[in-house]
């Protein structure tokens, strides 16, 4: 027997390992083991009393390069070993400064939770939904293929993570090499049990070069084995988000784990230790009207006059921006990609049979919702990208959207792609809008919505699909406000309200006015002018005014009437209106009197608009002084079948439904309606101009004025906007033939890019420059 002493010295340094096991084995002899806890640069030893012979000495421990050698024991001896530490760590930009951070704690997930605010933690991963390099299949964005798409993509759309090797050399002699049996494994897991597999949401590439390919993600797997040789001293990997938070991904988060496998410690394929990082997809932010317009879009749809009229104020906007003509009529059918399991397939909206046929679908607003997405970048500054949300609508304009609009500068994301959600008119950009920054004070406690709040109509008839609503909710940035647009035949919020800038209030959360359509205001103007201008016509192009070359009033068609012209006296009288609504039950046109129309507008439509204002008042601090009422008269378009109750009646004293006119619009037996006069609130809010649909309200002839007269409805809104000091300029555009008669207006026919809001300036604190520091959750 001999006293065989094994003396171990751990290297000098700071590393998270301190334990090794010494094992001595010899044929015919019992195995000898000893666990030693080491202190850097301090020798520790253990004496084994073992038989003489040839023994196998093994020293192993997490992070330590193992020793495995034969020793011949003849008599007492001391075997001195200086150990090498080699370990691997995982790095992300946890603190969101654009630079990869030090590793977190071993065998823990860092941070413990994803947080936001000034000390927020958790790397933000860009949703790479633009199209760099053009090497993806047409219609697909960069995150819908397996590759990194060019050098620009590397900068703007792909974040980094890095595996780093640390070697701590022994106290004497050269460092040992990395053992050949050591292995690494990257694993992507979900952060919340209710989320679908994280690899459906994030993609990790095999490097950070142009054309690096997916190793973890939708089309590969949720883990990848990585050799130590490929890592060397350090290796960076690109990572992008495939989707924004939403359905099956409510958390928006994932967990990346690096498992280090030392077979001599934990056996083959079993992790020995790990480093893990929480990541979170960048958020989508819907744009509001306090953000500066940087581009306007309109569809080329046999609407040359409208394009020309719109081009004039656009050309004079301050700050200026360009106008882009969309050409769906010349855009071939384009596939809409969606991820089905782990395969990208072509989506056909549930309940539709094919891709929409090519046409000049002019409704630019309704196909997409203007927004943007921002993330911290890779050290070259914060990266911001315009990103439209594709609404769950199925019209030919989407061919142009997928073929042309998606580009290096413009991204697109379709929350409902692949869903079983049905199409509804409510799933339209005209029904999805964002308030400017607002606040809500309750019992002295104030909640600030620095990015505004999304609002949309979602009731019984007009609804927004579940996927899109889950998408809005999951962004957790602009909590939605639900309004009732059932009373409108189209059912979009832009038909009844909009926000315009007002720079004057000191309160950063009140720098706007809310414009709402108001039949009561319209009829009030008529009443106030009945005596002086009773014969002034509505719904007619005035003589020799733009769009009318004749010396006479040219009647306008609406509500099944070829010429719906009527005077102020007519509109305030009891006679038969020339307009009608179609009873689908019989196919017949149903006439009505001006009195029926008037009472229904003032007591029915106005009530429902006021009801929506009350909903807004409950959602944020809104007073009547913040509201500008805009004269608009509505007409019934068609009727909803069903049974009405007392609560649906406009007047209890009127017998029955009065053929629909005594029922609140949007209820059973009531009408769904549309604007009769130009719906001025359905305007395009530019930088210093409001591009407003001409109302064709009562026209007062005055040959001393340009166009030989003026429109009382135009006068009304112009005066109210003029009361906003340094407010925007009103520009009235005739969109009647191209949009109004098809139940839309200028806002419906346009869309835009807007620069991100300068929160730092607006709210006076650098914290509000970026969303991840601005928000608390």
């Amino acid at each position: 027997m001999a006293n065989y002493t094994v003396q171990l010295t751990a290297p000098v340094g700071v590393y998270p390992f301190n334990t090794v096991r010494i094992s001595l084995t010899c044929l015919g002899q019992p195995q000898q083991t000893k666990d030693l806890v080491l202190t850097p640069n301090v020798a520790a030893s253990h004496v084994f009393n073992i038989a003489n012979g040839t023994w196998r000495l093994q020293v192993s421990g997490m992070g330590f390069v193992p020793i495995d050698e034969q020793v011949v024991v003849n008599n007492d001896a001391t075997d001195i070993k200086n150990l090498t530490v080699i370990y691997y760590t995982l790095h992300t930009d946890r603190d969101r400064d654009g630079v990869l951070d030090a590793a977190g704690n071993i065998n823990q997930i860092s941070p413990q939770t994803v947080t936001f605010g000034i000390a927020g933690r958790g790397a933000i991963i860009p949703v790479n939904c633009n199209r760099d390099g053009n090497n993806a299949v047409v219609g697909r964005t960069d995150n819908q293929d397996r590759d990194i798409n060019g050098n620009n993509d590397l900068v703007t759309g792909v974040a980094r993570l890095e595996i780093r090797q640390t070697i701590v050399a022994p106290v004497a002699g050269p460092a040992a090499p990395v053992p050949v049996g050591w292995g690494l494994k990257l694993w992507l897991g979900k952060a919340r049990n209710t989320d679908a597999a994280a690899r459906n949401h994030f993609r990790i590439f095999d490097g950070d070069a142009n054309n690096s390919v997916e190793i973890i993600g939708p089309e590969t797997a949720d883990e990848a084995n990585i050799t130590t040789a490929s890592v060397g001293a350090a290796k960076a990997y690109g990572i992008e988000a495939v989707r924004f938070a939403g359905r099956n991904f409510a958390s928006g988060q994932g967990i990346i784990s690096l498992f280090i496998i030392q077979p001599e410690v934990t056996g083959a394929n079993n992790p020995t230790y790990m480093y893990a990082e929480r990541i979170v997809a960048a958020r989508w932010i819907g744009n509001h009207h306090r953000q500066t317009v940087s581009r306007i879009y309109v569809v080329d749809a046999n609407n040359a006059n409208f394009q020309a009229a719109l081009g004039v104020p656009v050309a004079n906007e301050n700050p200026p921006y360009a106008l882009t003509l969309a050409t769906p009529g010349a855009s071939a059918l384009t596939n809409v990609p969606y991820l089905n399991g782990n395969i990208w397939q072509n989506f056909i909206a549930a309940g539709r049979l094919a891709r929409p046929a090519v046409s000049r679908d002019r409704w630019m607003r309704d196909t997409i919702v203007s927004g943007h997405s921002v993330w911290p970048g890779n050290g070259a500054g914060v990266q911001s990208k315009d990103a439209f949300m594709k609404t769950h609508r199925w019209r030919s304009l989407q061919n142009w959207i997928y073929q042309t609009l998606i580009s290096q500068n413009v991204g697109l994301y379709y929350p409902a792609a692949g869903s079983a959600d049905g199409i509804n008119d409510g799933n339209s950009g005209g029904n999805i809008a964002v308030t400017p920054p607002v606040q809500k004070t309750v019992n002295g406690a104030t909640t600030y919505y620095r990015y505004g709040r999304i609002y949309f109509g979602n009731n019984v008839q007009s609804t927004v699909d579940q996927s899109s609503r889950e998408f809005f909710d999951a962004q957790n940035m602009q909590p939605p406000i639900t309004l009732d647009t059932d009373w409108l035949a189209v059912g979009h919020v832009d038909e009844m309200m909009t926000f315009v800038p007002d720079n004057n209030p000191a309160n950063a959360f009140k720098k706007w006015k809310l414009l709402v359509a108001s039949p009561a205001t319209a009829y009030g103007i008529l009443r106030n002018n009945r005596n002086a201008h009773g014969n002034a016509p509505l719904l007619a192009r005035p003589p020799h005014s733009p769009g009318n070359a004749t010396p006479n009033f040219a009647g306008l068609g609406i509500g099944n009437a070829i010429d719906a012209t009527g005077t102020i006296t007519d509109f305030l009288g009891n006679g038969q209106a020339p307009t009608s609504w179609q009873d689908i039950n019989t196919g017949n046109l149903q006439n009505y009197t001006y009195k029926q129309l008037r009472d229904w507008n003032i007591n029915g439509v106005e009530y429902l608009i006021n009801q929506n204002i009350r909903r807004l008042k409950a959602a944020f601090d809104l007073t009547d002084n913040d509201v500008i009422r805009v004269p608009v008269i509505f007409i019934p378009v068609h009727q909803i079948n069903g049974n009405f109750t007392m609560a649906d009646k406009i007047s209890f004293w009127t017998m029955g439904a009065d053929n629909g006119f005594n029922i609140y619009p949007g209820r059973e037996c009531g009408f769904r309606s549309g604007a009769m006069t130009g719906d001025m609130v359905n305007m395009f809010v530019g930088n210093d101009k409001l591009m407003i649909p001409k109302p064709f309200g009562p026209w007062i002839v005055d040959n001393t004025m340009p166009n030989n007269g003026h429109d009382l409805f135009e006068d009304d809104i112009r005066q109210k906007i003029a009361a906003i000091q340094n407010g925007p300029e009103c520009v009235f555009i005739d969109d009647w033939d191209d949009y109004h008669v098809a139940h839309g207006e200028i806002h419906c026919g346009t869309n835009e890019l807007r620069a991100p809001y300068d929160g730092q300036t607006a709210f006076g604190n650098a914290r509000y420059a970026n969303w991840w520091t601005a928000v608390d959750a």
Binding site: A350, R362, V490
Partner: protein
């Protein structure tokens, strides 16, 4: 016009309506407008529609059209519609349509038994023989009340609430009327107000309940 030709005409009307909306901001009719077109033909087209659904036409229909058809069958559907509705429930790709089809199929599946049982009731048989609409409606409702234990419960709930509203209103009315009205007068007036569409001059086709 045969039921089949009526049905085909309804489909043409629907296609025509959809076509007329092509350029509008809403380019498809709402399901309830499709339902309204089908209802122009009352219940006559239910049979050819159900046959069409059995033949799988629903696979070629967009959701707005199928939704309207199912709404129509909510009034005029028979137990024959259960099988195609179950197919729609299981195979049509739109969640809302699946739910709509399931609810209607569940309801219609109970019809066979209820109808055959109610038809055995002598009062119902007499009413059918009479051909009198009022008598038929009353007898058939009471027949359903007899065979469906939930029916009297639901009817009682309505009655109780109506009596409660009358009783709660009576003290004020009594004071205003100086004791000239009884509570029965108030209850009668309440019924007339709430159901005036059915009790008054039938100038208005809409129902109030």
């Amino acid at each position: 016009m045969s039921a089949q030709s009526d049905y085909q005409q309804a489909l043409k009307d629907i296609a025509s309506l959809a076509s007329s909306m092509e350029d509008r901001i809403s380019n498809r009719p709402a399901p309830y407008t499709v339902d309204q077109i089908f209802r122009r033909y009352s219940g006559t087209i239910a049979t050819p529609m159900i046959d069409d659904l059995k033949a799988g036409v629903w696979k070629k229909w967009e959701s707005w059209q199928l939704g309207g058809a199912i709404s129509y069958l909510g009034s005029y559907g028979t137990s024959a519609a259960v099988a195609p509705l179950r197919e729609i429930e299981q195979n049509y790709p739109v969640t809302d349509i699946q739910i709509q089809a399931k609810e209607l199929a569940d309801l219609l599946a109970t019809l066979d038994v209820a109808v055959s049982e109610a038809r055995q009731i002598p009062q119902v048989q007499d009413a059918i023989k009479s051909g009198d609409a009022d008598q038929m409606a009353r007898s058939m409702l009471l027949g359903l009340a007899q065979i469906d234990p939930d029916w009297p419960v639901r009817a009682s709930e309505i009655q109780t609430k109506l009596f409660d509203l009358s009783a709660d209103s009576f003290p004020a009315i009594n004071e205003m009327a100086g004791g000239k009205l009884s509570q029965d007068d108030v209850t009668k007036a309440l019924v007339e107000i709430l159901f005036q569409q059915f009790l008054g001059t039938p100038t208005d086709s809409q129902r109030e309940h």
